[in-house]
């Protein structure tokens, strides 16, 4: 992306506070997203991808705390904005969709009203006007018979329809940035395919940048141009999406790609034993010294235990954080 980035995250540190101790749940994470770009963050549970998104939208709650670094949105530092300022930004310029839409929607309010609320809150529309716009918004996310569906309560809708409503709410004010945290994990594959297409189409049409978060490497690579791979609170590799699959640079990414039973692999190459990554994902309170992947890494040497690797720029673009990267 050329020119000024829409979002720039600079050495972000997020701490898990347990009593008087602080653990670096996210440490020195830097990335940027251009206007209209779709950027992916991929990683396993506890890698810090979801709390990174929460920090961006100012929803970090105890026991998590901001630990340092900067978040620049349209050139403005937003990591220390007061609550009232952040609320103006949230839902308006930056919005978010979650994995389980049922918990994010108000069960006692018709979905149309919840969409309309966004126009009233952020655009100063009247309720009458907003309700009309809510029907449009539902039509926009391809909900059939939107004029009737606006009166439905969340429990009357299927999981896929609820996620569409969430997207309608999130995109109501034409935000510059949409944070999508595992938006399709709770859905069936055919519904997932539709929701992903919807996010892709709408963000392209509105020029909305998307930060897509998932544990599914295939999904992220499919949706995003660039991908950041996170492991144990660190961004270990940032590359063009397909490069991550074709020529992973970090041993963790490489191990992950080799461990996946990719659809079509057996038909084209026959069945071979999957490559395993030994060990377990460490808990936030027990991240190892040095490179955080070192206990599970096959390329480990002395330096990996002694020294935390710096980020290195890769010759063909992208960055990696490894002493022995490919």
């Amino acid at each position: 992306m050329s020119g000024e980035a829409l979002l720039k995250v600079d050495n972000l540190r997020l701490d898990l506070v347990v009593g008087s101790r602080r653990f670096g749940a996210v440490k020195d994470v830097s990335f940027s997203i251009g206007r209209g770009e779709t950027f992916g963050l991929v990683g396993e549970s506890g890698c810090g991808k979801s709390i990174t998104a929460l920090a961006l939208i100012g929803l970090l709650r105890a026991p998590l705390a901001f630990g340092g670094g900067r978040i620049l949105f349209k050139g403005r530092e937003i990591q220390n904005l007061p609550g009232s300022e952040m609320r103006k930004l949230r839902g308006n310029a930056i919005s978010m969709i979650f994995q389980e839409p049922m918990t994010a929607l108000n069960p006692l309010s018709p979905v149309g009203r919840q969409i309309a609320e966004m126009f009233v809150l952020h655009k100063g529309a009247t309720w009458h006007e907003a309700e009309r716009k809510a029907v449009e918004a539902l039509a926009n996310v391809r909900v059939p018979a939107p004029d009737r569906r606006v009166k439905d309560y969340p429990h009357q809708l299927s999981g896929g329809m609820r996620q569409r409503v969430m997207i309608a709410i999130a995109l109501a004010c034409r935000p510059d940035l949409l944070l999508a945290d595992e938006p399709t994990t709770a859905l069936d594959v055919t519904v997932q395919a539709e929701i992903l297409e919807l996010i892709r189409d709408l963000s392209a049409a509105q020029g909305t940048a998307v930060l897509m978060i998932s544990h599914d490497l295939g999904l992220i690579a499919n949706m995003c141009a660039r991908v950041g791979v996170m492991y144990a609170g660190r961004l270990v590799e940032e590359r063009a999406a397909q490069e991550v699959f074709r020529a992973p640079s970090h041993p963790y990414t490489g191990g992950l790609v080799a461990s996946l039973p990719l659809l079509g692999a057996r038909a084209s190459h026959g069945r071979s034993r999957l490559k395993e990554i030994s060990g377990v994902v460490p808990a936030v309170t027990a991240f190892p010294e040095g490179c955080r992947f070192n206990p599970r890494c096959q390329a480990r040497t002395e330096i990996c235990i002694a020294e935390d690797p710096e980020e290195t720029a890769l010759p063909r673009g992208g960055r990696v954080r490894c002493h022995h990267h490919a």
């Binding site: 690579a221 499919n222 191990g255 038909a267």
Partner: protein, 326 residues
């Protein structure tokens, strides 16, 4: 696979209907046909993949095979004996068919050590000699990649992957012939999945097991299965060898399922389907997939439901247009 493969399990015209509503206060009594006439067979040493989206009846079918859900109609034959019949001895069935659960957290009793989890079933089934019990527990723990001294620990002391190993050990401790795997890796961290998949495939050989695996992850299904059955709204719509299903799927639903998996390289072509699962209380007439089918013709909408027709050896499709769609 050689022609003489022994059949180990045969499911005949199995149906599970759940009554809804009605009762004392009247109202129309309605029935959900969760499983509606399923015929299946499992050969010795094979892994049968059962795929389909939520609500297709694959879990109910598995529960019936395990004797946890009484069938409304039909039989589950094992060596000529109906093991789904209500009068069947639970213990006798337990020595034949076992289950590995999806969630490694809720599937282990938090108040029991690993040892008790494995010891109680042995004792219940008449193995009370201390040396033999100890020997079998130790052997089983080694089989699943745990150390015998870990038997004294409680589930919360283990990681998700290790817990799943304990769950597998529990399923295999009685040396069953058939194991139902219910989404065995989907609740695990991505970097742990390969370990469990490899373990399951190894155990299948060393312990001469046959698997029925439920999964929505088609990559895992392709990697592990010998044959695959695709279910939609309580019925099997396509069944065949893994190679046929994944390289030459014939039913439009199977094709849509495969096309819906995000391809990291963005190359996989395929049909997209729209809409969601119809209300199972009022299944569509004729072919149940017709409202979502991209290949639908008028004839598909008319009853009766098309039969499961053989289009090649061991490849059956429930579609009127199967021949045209080749």
């Amino acid at each position: 696979m050689p022609e003489t493969d022994a059949m180990i399990l045969k499911v005949e015209d199995l149906a599970v209907h759940f009554p809804l509503g009605g009762g004392l206060l009247g109202g129309k009594r309605r029935t959900v046909h969760a499983v509606d006439g399923v015929d299946l067979h499992l050969k010795k040493g094979e892994c049968l993949g059962l795929v389909g989206e939520s609500g297709c009846g694959k879990s109910t079918l598995a529960l019936s095979i395990l004797g946890l859900q009484a069938p409304t109609r039909g039989r589950v034959l094992l060596d000529g004996v109906d093991i789904a019949a209500p009068g069947v001895d639970r213990k006798a069935r337990a020595r034949i068919v076992q289950m590995v659960f999806q969630d490694p957290y809720s599937s282990l009793n938090p108040r029991q050590t690993v040892r008790r989890t494995l010891e109680d079933p042995l004792r219940l089934h008449g193995i009370t000699d201390k040396a033999e019990v100890d020997g079998r527990i130790e052997e089983m723990l080694r089989h699943v990649g745990l150390r015998p001294e870990q038997a004294a620990r409680y589930p919360h002391e283990f990681s998700g992957g290790q817990r799943q190993r304990i769950g597998i050990a529990r399923a295999l401790i009685l040396k069953p012939k058939i194991v139902v795997l219910d989404e065995p890796v989907s609740a695990l961290d991505v970097s742990i999945r390969a370990q469990i998949i490899n373990l399951l495939l190894e155990l299948k050989e060393t312990m001469e097991l046959s698997y029925i695996m439920i999964s929505h992850d088609l990559g895992v299904v392709e990697h592990m299965s010998d044959r695959v059955a695709v279910m939609y709204l309580g019925r099997i719509v396509e069944t065949g060898g893994w190679h046929a299903i994944f390289t030459a799927p014939r039913h439009p639903y199977t094709r849509a399922l495969i096309a819906a998996i995000p391809d990291p390289f963005g190359e996989r072509p395929g049909v997209k389907i729209s809409g969601e699962l119809p209300n199972p209380l009022e299944p569509p007439s004729g072919c149940r997939f017709h409202p979502r089918c991209p290949e639908v013709r008028d004839i598909c909408r008319k009853p009766p439901t098309p039969p499961l027709g053989e289009i090649a050896r061991e490849h059956e499709v429930r579609c009127l247009r199967a021949a045209e769609l080749a």
